[in-house]
Structure formats: structure tokens, C-alpha cells
Symmetry: C2
Subunit: 318 residues, 2 copies
């Protein structure tokens, strides 16, 4: 089948990738229709996780075969962490943290930049008719934004800063603003911030906030300097949410966290159901985040395009 | 009056310290009967906070005069942070975090190692008859232990590790164990851990726990290496509570906090009322933590004694 494959430090398009093996009883075989390129995919082509195979974890597709009848022939999106099903994490409904997990297109499992993939039935979610294919591709990162309100209570009177105007930052701003909180999205590019500004969200390219300004600061900056800025801007007893990973180990002033009783929350993958509801309700608009759509055949070019500074979401039509 | 004074890098006892100025309407004049020497006091004699004057913030005393009649002649303990009363922190009942606060015996306010002190009425708590003077001195650090359950929900099925068998660690272990949680107190000295072991709490001097063992790890180690150990031992989605301050800035693996969605909570001063209730109920026993009691006149010697490695609580009888 057609696929993008990353192997021996090279990403290439092929028409001869072997189709996924016949799925097990608890798995579905899915024909991918659209997929999105994410920062993690770009990292993978630099060696992240040592992944070899078909990358891609943001997708929408049609179920071709599946042990659960209700999915067959239907449009689905899929959670990306596949737990072992028997460890304490899995049994406590935390399969995202299963120590033996595989992760679609990231860890020990071929992903979505191919005609077909297999995925556990447990990971599937039906896509409502009100949501287009292009929108459905955003469910995975949008779920990661909803993970924040899943983890911490956000009050409508809270002052909140979202740092970063990348793909994730713009989704997080939209999701958190739904709580009614007093939010400002801080970034570098006026044209990118305009996407959320048009929805009535305060934005700034010159974030010279005073110290102790915010109840909650969400770091989607993807930069190593993000934490220190967040620490400066958050109030005593406030919360810093870490949403992006940075490569280096940072010198962090743990003392100041104690004295000001600051809480730091690491946040990763999130719940799909609220993300699908938000897309169906149009309470979040992901369409302006689409930068360009390429056919799978031009996938290597699409990766180059997505890796340009300031690029928003690049989609692949499979 | 008699007092211990820290000035020009020297701690000395004097009989000639000026008595506190006549208190304002909202303040009480208190005759101190007992006070405790805490790690912060020892740090102050090394230059911490640049404090000059009378140190001491753990105390019990009798109110000599006060605008509020109900306190006069009564035994009280006192919260140590004195807020300005008009800033947003103070108005939101967070005067512990008032940016203009003074702190008894720590910041811009003479403390408890003297015959008399003044303190805002708002900071006072009556001591129940069931609580002795010696026990009441522990209310301030015991309140700091209760701050943990004030900040994070602790479930009776949680696996919890308290790192550190110092004064604070032994109080924290006792308080957290009251929740019924599955707790182990990890430390270096068997004879110190015996204090909580006798109360039925699991202890260990050889904490070779597997990775991802605990839902909550509380770092009372007072050591810079504490955070990395806590990170290793806490489960994905677990919580690390930072209870002690360490001088250096540490290199912290922020990435791993995101991937495992770990929460880090800084924790400082706590609520006095539950600490007083626990002492009255004898649900926490602080008496075995008393190492030795010195008269105020021997305060300098008492400081030397308290600074010995492994020393527990040293009290001053005023």
C-alpha cells in the first residue's frame, strides 16, 4: 500500500509498504482518509523516540473491519495510546500511562501516514456528521487541550495566560476561553494570534506582564525559556501547566515554588469525547489553523512545508 | 527585656532589649512562655533573609493586652504572616501570600525569642486546655503539615511516601497517616523513625523503592537530591509535594513531568485550627519530638544544640 516511511534517518514515500496484518478480534482495520502533521512527527524525523516505520497519529478514517459491528463502515478517530490491558494503569482507566503501551506512529506501532492502519476498538470514537474530515483530524490535539480542564479546575473569574501561538497554543486558548475565564493569548505572530482574536480572545505580541499577574499560566511555548516566564507571571498559589516538551533539563527555582506555593502540572494526551462535542457544536474553530493540504504522495514535501517557522497545520489527504 | 538578638552576624542574649512599642488597636501584646527553634531560625543565623533582630516564630504565650477582649489573659499561639490587609491577596484571605507581608521573627518583625512580642489579633488562636505549652509550640510546624491535605486531596487508598525524618517529616507522616492512606516514612535514622513507627506507621531506612511506586511523594528531605528521588518514585499522574526549601537551583527534567503528567505542589505555612484540634484529640503526638528545653538565657547554647546533625526539637522556656 501507499505510505510514508521513516527508516535509516530518511523519510520517503513508497507504494509498496506491506498492508497491516489481519487485525485481532479486539482491533479494527481502518482506511485512513486524512491525517495531520504534528510537531512530534517532525521530531521523529530528527530521531525522537528512535521510531522506525510509518509515522502519523492525527487521523480520521473509515472502519473496514472490526469485531464490534457498530464501527464497521463508520467514520472514526482514534486515541493513540494502546495499553496492555492488564497492568494496574490499564485497569484503573489510565491506559495512556500504561508502562507497556505502544503509541500510534510514535512507539512500536505503525501510524496514520498510510492507506490503512489497525487500532484497538477501545481507542475508537465515531465522528458525528456535523464534523468534516478536515476538522476531525484535529480531535487528537484538541483532546490534549481539554486535558487541561480535565486536570485542573478553571474558574470563570481566573486570570489565565496561554503562552505560545503555535498549533497547540491556538487550540488551548480556544478551549480554555470557553470556561469564561479572563484569558490572554501571548505569542510572537500577530497573524497567528488573529485566529483567536477574531473569536473575541485577548491577544498580545508584547507580553510585558507584571509579576504575579495570572492564576494559571499554560506553557505551550515549546521553548526552554517558557518555564521561567511562567514562574514570573503566575501568582502565589497559582498553577503552571506544562503542555509542551523541551529537550534540555532546566535549572528550576524549586525554592520559589515552595515559598509561593505554586503548583506545576504536566499535561499530555486528553479525552476525545469533549473534543468531538466541541467540534460538532462549533464552539472551537479549527479550520483557520489549516495551512495547506497535500496528497500522501507529496508527503515528504508536506513535512518540509510543516517544519517552516510559524507554519500552522499541514494535512495529508490519503 | 530579656531577648535573643541576631545582629551583625552574631546571635547573643541580652537583658536590655527594648520592649515592643505599645500595640496598635488591632494588635495584641503577648508574654511568651515557650518557643521552639526551627530550621529557618538556624538558617537566619547564617544570613537567611538578611534578618536582623529577635528571631523565633514558633511560640505560645499569654495575651497581656489586646483590642479584642476575648483574648486578654488567655493562652494563644499565632500565625506568623502579617498581611497589609488591603491588597488583593489579603482581601482574598491569602494573607500568607501578601507581597507586603512581614513575618514574625523572619521578615521585618521581631519574633518570639524574647519576653514579649506584638502580633495582629487576626493571627491569634486560643489554645485549648487539653494542649500543654510544650505541645502548643508545635502548632506552627504542625499547621504546615496540614497545609498538604489542605492543598491536595489524599485518598485512603493512596500509596504515599514521606521523605525525611527531621522535625517536619515526622509531623507530616503523622498528619498524612490520619487519612488512612498507605504511607511509608523514609529516612536515615532508625531512632527518629521509631517515633512514628511506634504509632503504627511503616518506616524504612533503606528506601530502595521501585520506580512509579507512589501516588504521592512528599519531599521533607531538605536535600537537593530529594526532587529527583521523588520523581523516580512517583507514579504517572501522581503528585510530588515540595515541603522544604533547598538553596540551589536544580536541573529538573520538565519533559518527564509532561510525559507522565506529574503534578508538583509547593507547600509552606498552613492552617492553625486543624493543628490545634489534632493536638487536643492527641491524634498527633509531638512530645517525643522534644529533644531538650533550655532557658532563654542559654539561647545561644540552645541554637548550637539544635544545629547538631539529627537533632529534633529544641525548646526555649522564656
Amino acid at each position: 500500500m501507499r505510505a510514508l516511511v521513516y527508516q535509516n534517518n530518511e523519510l520517503r514515500f513508497t507504494r509498496d509498504h506491506s498492508v497491516p496484518t489481519k487485525p485481532k478480534y479486539n482491533e479494527a482495520l481502518i482506511r485512513v482518509t486524512h491525517a495531520g502533521i504534528c510537531g512530534t512527527d517532525l521530531e521523529i524525523t530528527k530521531g525522537y523516540m528512535g521510531f522506525q516505520g510509518v509515522p502519523g497519529h492525527e487521523f480520521v478514517g473509515i472502519v473496514e473491519s472490526c469485531g464490534e459491528e457498530r464501527f464497521v463502515g463508520k467514520r472514526v478517530v482514534g486515541e493513540i495510546n494502546v495499553g496492555c490491558g492488564v497492568c494496574p494503569s490499564c485497569l484503573n482507566r489510565r491506559r495512556n500511562h500504561c508502562p507497556n503501551r505502544s503509541v500510534l506512529g510514535i512507539l512500536n506501532k505503525d501510524g496514520a501516514f498510510a492507506e490503512q492502519l489497525t487500532l484497538s476498538n477501545k481507542n475508537l470514537h465515531l465522528v458525528p456528521d456535523l464534523v468534516t474530515d478536515e476538522e476531525a483530524v484535529f480531535v487528537e490535539p484538541l483532546a490534549a487541550a481539554f486535558e487541561i480542564t480535565q486536570q485542573i479546575p478553571l474558574r470563570p473569574t481566573d486570570k489565565v495566560c496561554v503562552m505560545g501561538d503555535g498549533r497547540l497554543g491556538l487550540l488551548v486558548s480556544q478551549v480554555l476561553a470557553l470556561t469564561g475565564c479572563n484569558l490572554v493569548a501571548a505569542g510572537r505572530y500577530e497573524e497567528k494570534l488573529a485566529i483567536v482574536k477574531e473569536r473575541g480572545i485577548d491577544t498580545t505580541c508584547n507580553p510585558d506582564f507584571p509579576q504575579n499577574e495570572f492564576d494559571v499560566v499554560v506553557d505551550c511555548s515549546g521553548s526552554a525559556a517558557g518555564f521561567d516566564l511562567a514562574r514570573k507571571w503566575v501568582k502565589p498559589r497559582g498553577t503552571i501547566v506544562l503542555k509542551t516538551t523541551v529537550a534540555e533539563r532546566e535549572a528550576v527555582d524549586l525554592n520559589s515554588l515552595v515559598i509561593d506555593e505554586v503548583t506545576v502540572v504536566g499535561s499530555r494526551c486528553g479525552p476525545f469525547a469533549p473534543a468531538l462535542r466541541a467540534l460538532a457544536m462549533k464552539s472551537v474553530d479549527v479550520r483557520p489553523l489549516i495551512e495547506k493540504t497535500f496528497p500522501l504522495e507529496e508527503g515528504v514535501e508536506a513535512f518540509h512545508y510543516a517544519s517552516q517557522k510559524g507554519a500552522l497545520k499541514v494535512l495529508l489527504r490519503i
